[in-house]
Symmetry: C2
Subunit: 205 residues, 2 copies
């Protein structure tokens, strides 16, 4: 991340920078849920975080990038610092664990509004969509593909399956139901999606 280069070598300065960084990310995350993306400003983030505007601009080029880093860091916290998908060897069980966690996140009021704000803004803002793709979507997509690739190598998924398609068959129905509010998002629903998608993705007899 670009801010790493700005961190000084002195341990106290590093700690101070890390504290400022977390305060900024938390402020950005909370504010976008309160006022939406359009009204979110670097000034307001700085005021809430108790830092100067220049501190933010030194580390991030735009409010969109601050926000994506905020999601990334808060997701890592939730996953105890390890963003990789679980791999117990049991693909179905692992995917149910992950999709149930996604359901919990999407149903968590703290996540819901910021995520809706970003998702809808991206639809009309190609620049923000490109930043999202680079900062958040691609790293997450790569983790998902990695887990599915190992399953494919173990013969648990059809050898011809396109891994991007597989990811979308698993996560697409859930995200779509969430965005369009067309039904309740429950652990049971996550399980059914995993079971149905995997039946379609397994090696053909």
């Amino acid at each position: 991340m670009s801010h790493a280069q700005a961190v000084e070598e002195h341990p106290d300065a590093t700690r101070r920078n890390e504290a400022s960084r977390r305060a900024i990310l938390t402020a950005a995350f909370d504010l976008v849920g309160e006022v939406g993306f359009t009204k979110l400003s670097i000034e307001a983030i700085a005021a809430r975080a108790g830092v100067g505007k220049q501190t933010i601009y030194r580390w991030w080029p735009s409010k969109g990038v601050v926000l994506f880093d905020a999601f990334l860091v808060l997701s890592e916290d939730r996953a105890s610092g390890d963003p990789a998908l679980p791999d117990t060897g049991d693909l179905e069980a692992d995917l149910k664990t992950v999709l149930r966690a996604t359901v919990d996140e999407l149903n968590d009021p703290r996540y819901e509004e910021p995520l809706r704000a970003l998702n809808t803004e991206m639809v009309h803002n190609p620049e923000l969509a490109a930043t999202y793709a680079e900062r958040l979507h691609e790293p997450m997509q790569e983790l998902k593909r990695d887990r599915l690739r190992r399953a494919q190598q173990a013969g648990q998924l059809d050898a011809d399956t396109d891994l991007d398609l597989a990811v979308e068959m698993l996560w697409g129905p859930l995200l779509n139901r969430w965005l369009q509010r067309t039904g309740p998002l429950t652990a049971e629903y996550a399980d059914r999606v995993v079971e149905t998608a995997l039946r379609g993705l397994r090696p053909r007899a």
Copy 2:
């Protein structure tokens, strides 16, 4: 539809009303693509359609409902007046026909902006989402479930399959890719989604 009750019995008046109704729906559809949902007004629709504001309020309670009727009517035009899903007996071929048509619609610049405007506004506007559910989503969902129910009765889908889940396994990945712009929407992609989803939805051996 509520406006039907307002249509007078005289043939000339009926024709005039029908012409006004189509002008209003076309104006609403074009305008939302140009200015977005927030800035769309009944005044602007009336001006573009060449009718009085009261004509619109007589037939529709809000701009959201005008818009949903516009989508419904324009989709019916596209489908030559019959909104039912094709049923040749070959489920896979029929679904590919329908999803390829959806891809064409989502890639059509005339549809793209209005659809994005509505989809994102609904995310933050529960009242509009409820109107959408009643006016557009549920009627379409019912047509999709009908087609899948006939396939289920013919033994082409697993008897235990929940039909709402089946609809989401087929349409969810495509809508999600479109909204998030995470990949190209092509006829080939539509075909792969249908093939993969159906493998997961067919009767279990």
